[in-house]
Symmetry: C2
Subunit: 347 residues, 2 copies
């Protein structure tokens, strides 16, 4: 049946005519506002059923200034058009875990998620403009690189927003974050406790705050254990970069017997490079990852890693945003999660 969308859908007006009441009354009944005479009430619902009326959310939103939508903004201020990076980002378990966590909360609240990409300057201003107009009731921001102007723009515009991951520059914005430094410290403690002496690290991009925290957290903890100097090679969170970094580290520190890797996906790459070099994990080298993503369990040996409760954090971010939308005056708050060590076979 190729009807297209030609025939006009029933409106409030139609229902009112059928029920023999005014538009206002129908609106009140449908929204359950104020006491309406039970008889009329039933009459109206009956008419709603007979006409097959469904409220038009757009029209409603226009007047109520509420859309029942929140935006998930993936902000990548360094993106170029056709940057293959975005594709990689979506395929990474990180993205899916965030979406899953958000939806677990939003779904029950009957709120939908609109995916937005803010790459260029232009997209950013349009996005903020749309949000100010109430295109969405608020925004969850996933900020990839450092120096992202978006968080500031959002707060200046008075748009309710919550970041997942702390903003690179101090901005009065709600956020949910992980104590990345203490997670890294956990890894350091574990490597030292299991008797490793020559310990190195594969870090993520230094301009990403989360990544940077892991590096400094690890260095500080190692210093407390008397290791004043830790060789570090940086990757960009991809498997290939982890492999490359591991090769570099092996070349420069043949005696290494412990590695901390800033995320599991890079750890997978490191595992490959170690095997290639004939080093057994965990017999010759202990390896600790970060995130406890699906990559960690599927690796062989399964990765000892730092558990990052990303789903919970995303869910918390959603709750925070909802609260913020309800009460715009709410004071800016941050929720920091403590990571835990998950011991598997690699260390």
């Amino acid at each position: 049946m190729q009807t297209g969308r030609v025939e006009r859908l029933p409106t409030l007006e139609d229902v009112a005519r059928v029920a023999g009441v005014s538009r206002a009354t129908v609106s009140r009944v449908v929204n359950g506002i104020r006491n309406v005479d039970p008889q009329l009430h039933e009459l109206v619902w009956d008419a709603v059923g007979r006409t097959g009326y469904v409220p038009n959310r757009l029209a409603r939103s226009l007047v109520t200034r509420r859309t029942g939508t929140v935006a998930l903004v993936v902000s990548d201020s360094e993106a170029h058009d056709d940057d293959p990076f975005m594709g990689r980002f979506f395929a990474d378990p990180y993205f899916g875990r965030v979406v899953g966590g958000l939806m677990s909360v939003l779904r029950t609240a009957g709120i939908q998620l609109a995916l937005q990409i803010a790459g260029t300057e232009d997209q950013r201003t349009r996005l903020v403009g749309d949000l100010r107009h109430g295109q969405a009731d608020g925004a969850i921001v996933l900020s990839l690189p450092g120096r992202d102007p978006l968080p500031r723009m959002l707060t200046d515009a008075g748009v309710p927003a919550v970041m997942i991951g702390r903003p690179a520059d101090p901005v009065p914005i709600n956020y949910v974050d992980l104590a990345n430094d203490s997670g890294a410290a956990l890894a350091a403690d574990h490597l030292v406790a299991t008797g490793r002496h020559t310990i190195v690290m594969i870090a993520g991009p230094p301009e990403v705050p989360a990544s940077n925290d892991r590096t400094t957290g690890f260095r500080n903890a190692m210093a407390r254990h008397g290791h004043g100097w830790v060789p570090v090679a940086a990757g960009n969170f991809t498997q290939e970069s982890g492999e490359a970094a591991m090769r570099t580290l092996l070349a420069e520190n043949p005696a290494l017997d412990g590695v901390f890797v800033a995320n599991d996906v890079m750890a997978l790459g490191a595992l490959l490079a170690l095997r290639e070099a004939g080093r057994d994990v965990p017999a010759d080298v202990s390896l600790v990852g970060f995130d406890d993503s699906s990559a960690a369990t599927s690796a062989s040996p399964p990765l000892t890693t730092i558990r990052h409760p990303l789903e919970d954090m995303a869910a918390e971010a959603a709750k925070l945003l909802l609260a913020r939308i309800e009460d715009p005056g709410m004071r800016v708050s941050a929720v920091i999660y403590e990571p835990t060590l998950v011991t598997r076979r690699s260390a």
Copy 2:
């Protein structure tokens, strides 16, 4: 600065007043419609700049019946509330790859993606109602289980929609799919060609069409090679289920030397079970996966698998939908992708 969203945003009216023209003229200029006197044109743009005007998409959509949004509907007709399954689904690389593919097209078209979950009967009718009202211009449907009533509802309602994966029941709906059966045949050919004799399969849930096609495709191809009977154990596409299925198969067919697994994630589980049983891959047992997801490359040994060009398929689905939105009379079409064999180390 805790401004909230109190101060009224500039409207078309405001711009018109500043520019000294009518609302209609401003609208025409902003939308680049019809020739407007170059002088007025400049005057208007100037006023737009001075007032900081941004069009209100909601108001515009209400009259144009175009939203610049397409819905990504994850349809799970068997979902229960708080079903943990959804979380698993989002974390699976499948979801992210689809989103990435869709966004690669939608992004350049300036269209946003709204994530919707259709689990219960109730959600489904509300969703269709909203879509008929033009809440979104069209829908991409990811239908998880068989017997999903949603595709039919969508076509009956005249909502432009494209499915990723063929509908379980014949429905006149556009879709993009993979030739799952010939992919499975590729795996069969490869296992036989590499000299394997005792070949088994780990299948997915039989009620999922894609999964079912892989099973029958594999069986048929094996039959052509003279293997009339192939032992099959079914999992549910998770790693644990793959591990369990592998254990069952090993117990029942100790002599097995070749395994085809209906997706890479389960293959990871199978790998674990095989190692546990002391079987070396690929020396003792050849293993072929399906999807060529990130799991395949990160496994050790890396998985020989059937490449599923999911991103391309999603991108094609997006293009198809856009075309369909442009021309609602477009005839229903299907695009079937041919999978290819990717040879790595596991077989």
